[in-house]
Symmetry: C2
Subunit: 444 residues, 2 copies
């Protein structure tokens, strides 16, 4: 048998999507639980396949073509598999993002309109090495009733294939072809072209990788590029609070996109604030880079270059700038920021409001660490990802980001002609508190 083309796989997924949309919450949950069980029951098989990927990765590491970090990300273990099946069970027990009426409106007697949450359809994902990403993405898509195209990295191909086959077998009762594995590198470009059949792309990987996807497709993309986040310490800040927020935002976990990269400090408080925070940062091993005004106060800071202001360090490095006004802080963020997360520390609510309204960032905080910008902390349940796009889903995205809506209209033979012409019948347009149930009309 020859391998199916990417086009064939996507067509199968499209067909499966129509069936998936009709599954009950219970059927989708049962599918997820049986995926979790399958992972628990097949450790040996998965770890054997993973060992082949890791061995190949180590050979490439020895040849200097791979990094240790990449090989580490690739490696599965019994305990990692436990946390993967636990994650799948947790997704299974999330609130159902479907079967919800988002709005209902009586257009006229016996004519009721319902806006109903539905799956998007076919979600295409392209992800780098971690084999756990395959399972997580498949679980999120199944929970939200979407068919999924999984394109993993070739370095994890043995692991991915085993995990994919386990998922397929575990969900044999669901519409056939709901999950599709795509392996060839050239198929990525084929997927990017399929704007008629793939409804949403969800790339996972480096900023450059996500940007490449965004720039090479007309399919909507849910993903995030850089996180160049800012903390601004206002002249009206409680400086002890400012120190805690600025410290947490950089040090608590510097490798993630919601960590702060540039600290902006109002000149009126710079002399009091900077030496104290610089000492704390130094103790935590943070390398500081400052503008001239900062370096006059913090001597150990290196000189920041123009590039520093637009760099996502993702590490214990921080750039610092002294600004002469709230406006200068806003200008800096607008010029260099990536519209991810910015925080102001101030006791002045009017200035906080100006900061929060003026910035075009997905998350704007007042007296809180940028690190809160996260689906779990926001209470969104399972995190689908963080979006740096402004359309459809923005900032931290929960399962809702994998849904769209449909309009259901229940009538009783209503025709538009009754509402047109000289003797126009008016619409009622009354908001209803009702869930759509088949055939449910206001006159019944």
């Amino acid at each position: 048998m020859t391998e199916k083309t990417a086009e064939t796989k996507v067509t199968e997924a499209q067909r499966a999507a129509l069936g998936l949309a009709q599954l009950s919450e219970d059927e989708r949950r049962r599918g997820l639980l049986s995926i979790a069980d399958a992972i628990d029951e097949h450790h040996e098989e998965i770890l054997e396949a993973n060992e082949r990927d890791v061995t190949a990765g180590e050979e490439l590491l020895a040849a200097g073509e791979y990094s240790q970090a990449l090989v580490d990300r690739l490696k599965l273990s019994a305990s990692k598999l436990d946390s993967i099946s636990e994650m799948v069970r947790s997704v299974a027990h999330q609130d159902d993002p479907l079967e919800k009426t988002l709005a209902a409106r009586r257009l006229d007697e016996g004519l009721d309109l319902y806006k109903v949450a539905v799956p998007i359809g076919v979600v295409g994902t392209v992800f780098e090495s971690r084999p756990d990403a395959l399972v997580q993405i498949a679980a999120l898509c199944l929970k939200s009733g979407n068919a999924v195209i999984l394109k993993g990295g070739s370095e994890a191909s043995h692991s991915n294939r085993v995990l994919y086959e386990l998922i397929r077998e575990a969900t044999a009762e669901l519409p056939d072809g709901w999950a599709q594995l795509v392996e060839a590198r050239e198929d990525v470009d084929a997927l990017l072209e399929m704007d008629d059949s793939i409804d949403l792309l969800m790339p996972r990987g480096s900023s450059e990788f996500v940007r490449y996807i965004q720039n090479n497709t007309s399919i909507p993309v849910l993903g995030h590029t850089e996180g160049i986040c800012h903390v601004y310490v206002d002249e009206a800040a409680d400086l002890e609070m400012a120190s805690d927020v600025a410290y947490d935002a950089k040090v608590q976990y510097p490798a993630v996109c919601n960590a702060v990269e540039t600290l902006l400090v109002h000149e009126d408080v710079a002399e009091e604030f900077l030496p104290e925070i610089a000492a704390r940062y130094e103790q935590a091993g943070v390398e500081l880079r400052g503008d001239d005004a900062t370096r006059e106060i913090v001597e150990e800071a290196e000189a920041a270059t123009e590039d520093d202001w637009s760099t996502e360090y993702g590490d214990l490095v921080l750039s610092i700038k002294v600004v002469d006004s709230l406006e200068a802080a806003l200008d800096h963020i607008t010029t260099y920021g990536s519209k991810h997360t910015e925080s102001i520390v101030t006791d002045d609510d009017e200035r906080a409001s100006r900061f929060m309204r003026s910035l075009d960032s997905a998350s704007v905080f007042h007296n809180a660490s940028t690190r809160f910008s996260d689906g779990y902390r926001f209470g969104l349940g399972a995190e689908v990802g963080i979006s740096t796009g402004k359309i459809h889903a923005r900032g931290p995205v929960g399962l809702e980001g994998l849904t769209t809506y449909k309009y259901h209209l229940e009538g009783d033979g209503h025709v538009v002609a009754s509402y047109a012409g000289d003797d126009v019948k008016p619409y009622l347009h009354e908001e209803l508190e009702a869930e759509w149930t088949p055939g449910d009309r206001s006159d019944e």
Copy 2:
């Protein structure tokens, strides 16, 4: 002075967008009312410019390069200008789509998260001949706080320029550059490339035109291509109702995208239903094209070709097919439909539910004419357009389609470190019924 490049104009619009997002509802409304007044006060100037476009259009008509319909669409009159300024006033008085808290959640004591409706930013529009489109789009964007790039057709260039200047002068108090006129044809391609600075594209024109835009940009597009809508008369239909719905869906206004193009009839009711509806259609001058089974019953129907099933006639032409089951109807619609609007006529709620759940169309109706698929009839207020995309906005789109959201987090010096590590502090994640006001925190 040399003409500014499209890039410069978009950069100006981006800057203006930051200011627009901070305007109050009242400031935006006042801007709209002064646009309406300016149109009322400058009829002569507008009609003079329009006359130049119409004259040029008529010359091209005489040369066989333009159609009469195009010249008609181009032509303004005093009464048309009255309806344009009335439309602007009506947009001004719509409910504000901004300054709304869409959701609020207490993450912990003193740490409250608000999801706040905000403008998208910079909306790019490309529209064909009608000069009234320029005013309507500018009004919808201003109401929703968006900066707008207006690219009209060259055939309406004199009219567009005068209308644009009036809008600019009337809104001189608003952030400078919020509306930008782009005139050169080659600038369209430049706009399509600006995915870093244009947040949403709203093309208006033929299906081919919208599809061209969709296929040539990675900017999200809000627009609609074909409307190949279906009415399915089920075996369990009330045939009198079916006749009224099928008649209205085709005849009430055949030129629009929500008119029916293909009528599907269950074989068990075809012999009773088809002769009656065919007679009504004939009286209304509808040309019928049927499959073999239809033509056995309706002799005057032409033979439908494969092309008929995927054609948007936009006219008094209808294709008819007899199907042997609900499933066959669903298959037909899935194969040939454009995911716009489909209606089932049936007294069987279970079958209606199956129809509505199985189809991946923006609007699915039960016992109602497809012609209800419209922002005004749906009660959405001013209609921004109809979207055949599935992401962000789907089906008829109101002003909400020109907004996105931002997360505002109000804390009191909260840091993530408190919620991590061995002695983990739990999140509360309680839904709040509250509007965001600056500095408003749960402990106050």
